[in-house]
């Protein structure tokens, strides 16, 4: 019999599934879950595709676009399941955003956005993100997510 990890259902909230193994705790931090709604983290569990994955279930909390954008940078194949009355009412795959506005710092330490409180803006270009201000491009790994 296959070993299975039983995780209790939530009545209402969000299940973030198919996370790249090892990213769940970082996403917990990004979402500020430690001081908010009850949540469950599962790490390195078997996925249906016979691979490992992380998963987060958050009770009574729905995510903003900015939050799902950040999740997509860490886990481009993640899915967001919206749960209402213990049933999946909506399921969608995250997509890396074409534009990142105000959610990440520019890795270029001499970019104006690091000295003036003006917000950041990055535009996707050939799979990388180009800073609207300093014109430098960065891969996802270069950001402090």
């Amino acid at each position: 019999m296959k070993d299975e990890l039983k995780v209790s259902r939530i009545k209402q909230g969000t299940v973030i599934d198919h996370l790249v193994p090892g990213t769940a705790l970082k996403i917990v931090k990004i979402l500020g879950l430690k001081s908010g709604s009850p949540f469950i983290v599962a790490m390195n569990v078997d996925s249906s595709k016979n691979r490992k994955k992380d998963m987060i279930k958050i009770d009574d909390r729905f995510l903003s676009k900015q939050e799902t954008d950040r999740i997509s940078l860490l886990s481009p194949n993640a899915t967001i399941n919206i749960i209402r009355n213990q049933k999946v009412s909506d399921k969608r795959k995250v997509t890396p955003p074409r534009e990142l506005a105000g959610i990440l710092s520019c890795p270029n330490r001499v970019c104006i956005t690091n000295s003036e409180d003006c917000g950041t803006r990055f535009l996707m270009k050939s799979g990388k993100y180009k800073c609207y201000f300093c014109e430098k491009t960065f891969s996802v790994e270069e950001f402090d997510l």
Binding site: V110, I112, T113, S115, E116, F133, C134
Partner: protein, 312 residues
């Protein structure tokens, strides 16, 4: 002359420019050059004010903007160095700009922080001209470099070698876009640690399907190039002074270098130079860097007229 819709626009990055816009700037610069040569007083920008905000040192860029504005009949306000301004009291760049836009019709700004010019353009309603934002861009220098190449060698089929600090040099980050826009053959000569940034080369490849050859030796290009564009290795841009010491003096051009040069080759330099072009070269027919500085006035006159508008 048709200003190609540049009126009230900003001049932030060479990457923003279309070929039609650059063509029209070069054409207008030709007109301005003839006005300068005839010493004809102009009043196209009479009653208009340019604010020159130079947060870091400049000789040529600031003075040629001021000369250009005066020659067009306009006037100048501004500062060179932040001493005596509220910046020293901690005023933000945006607050400074919001005040200056009440006093002037356009702003020419140099600031050591990358992206500051783009922020300035987004902050004020009047045209902003980037006079250099850190190591990022210096589009008006690139335009005057291109104009010099046009006057001295022509733009068609010209081979250009960019040499020196290609990593931190903002002039080459701008110029490479214009050279490739005009289909010129470009070679890049620098120490390994000072190569042209990958993001610039990637962008060039995407726009123009072109990848300039990169070399480490000046010897490999002097017999090939029609234009040798030399840049200073800029001590002030290096985060690590040890890195600077390792590459300082890597390249220099002297009369021995010129013996191997292609016939008719010209040498350009955005200036200031330190020791990368020896003074003995100044009196040769190759040396065109002081003419280049002169052409900067015509190009900036053209830009000011096109961006601010005015009479005639």
């Amino acid at each position: 002359m048709n200003n190609m819709g540049l009126k009230s626009k900003d001049m932030i990055s060479a990457a923003d420019l279309t070929k039609a816009e650059v063509d029209s700037i070069l054409k207008e610069a030709d007109v301005m050059l003839s006005h300068i040569k005839r010493k004809k007083p102009l009043d196209m920008l009479k009653g208009r004010i340019l604010a020159t905000l130079f947060f870091e040192p400049s000789t040529r860029t600031r003075m040629s903007f001021e000369s250009a504005m005066h020659r067009l009949g306009g006037s100048i306000i501004g500062f060179s160095g932040t001493e005596g301004t509220s910046v020293t009291k901690g005023e933000t760049l945006r607050d400074t700009l919001r005040n200056v836009e009440n006093y002037a019709d356009a702003i020419a700004m140099r600031n050591p922080i990358e992206g500051s010019a783009r922020l300035a353009a987004d902050t004020v309603r009047i045209p902003v001209i980037n006079g250099g934002d850190g190591s990022n861009q210096h589009p008006t220098q690139a335009l005057l470099d291109l104009f010099t190449i046009k006057v001295e060698k022509g733009l068609k089929g010209t081979k250009v070698a960019l040499c020196g600090d290609l990593k931190y040099g903002r002039t080459v980050h701008s110029l490479i876009y214009l050279l490739c826009m005009y289909g010129m053959d470009v070679r890049l000569v620098s120490p390994k640690t000072l190569r042209m940034p990958k993001h610039v080369l990637d962008d060039i490849k995407e726009r123009y399907s072109y990848a300039p050859v990169e070399e480490e030796s000046l010897d490999g290009v002097v017999g090939w190039a029609d234009v040798l564009y030399v840049t200073r290795i800029q001590r002030e841009r290096f985060p690590d002074q040890n890195e600077y010491e390792r590459v300082a003096g890597s390249y220099f051009v002297d009369n021995e270098t010129l013996k191997k040069a292609k016939k008719g080759m010209v040498i350009l330099h955005p200036l200031p130079r330190v020791d990368e072009i020896r003074p003995e070269v100044d009196c040769t027919s190759c040396a065109k860097y002081f003419e280049q500085s002169f052409y900067g006035i015509a190009v900036r006159m053209a830009l000011l007229k096109m961006l601010i508008g005015g009479n005639g």
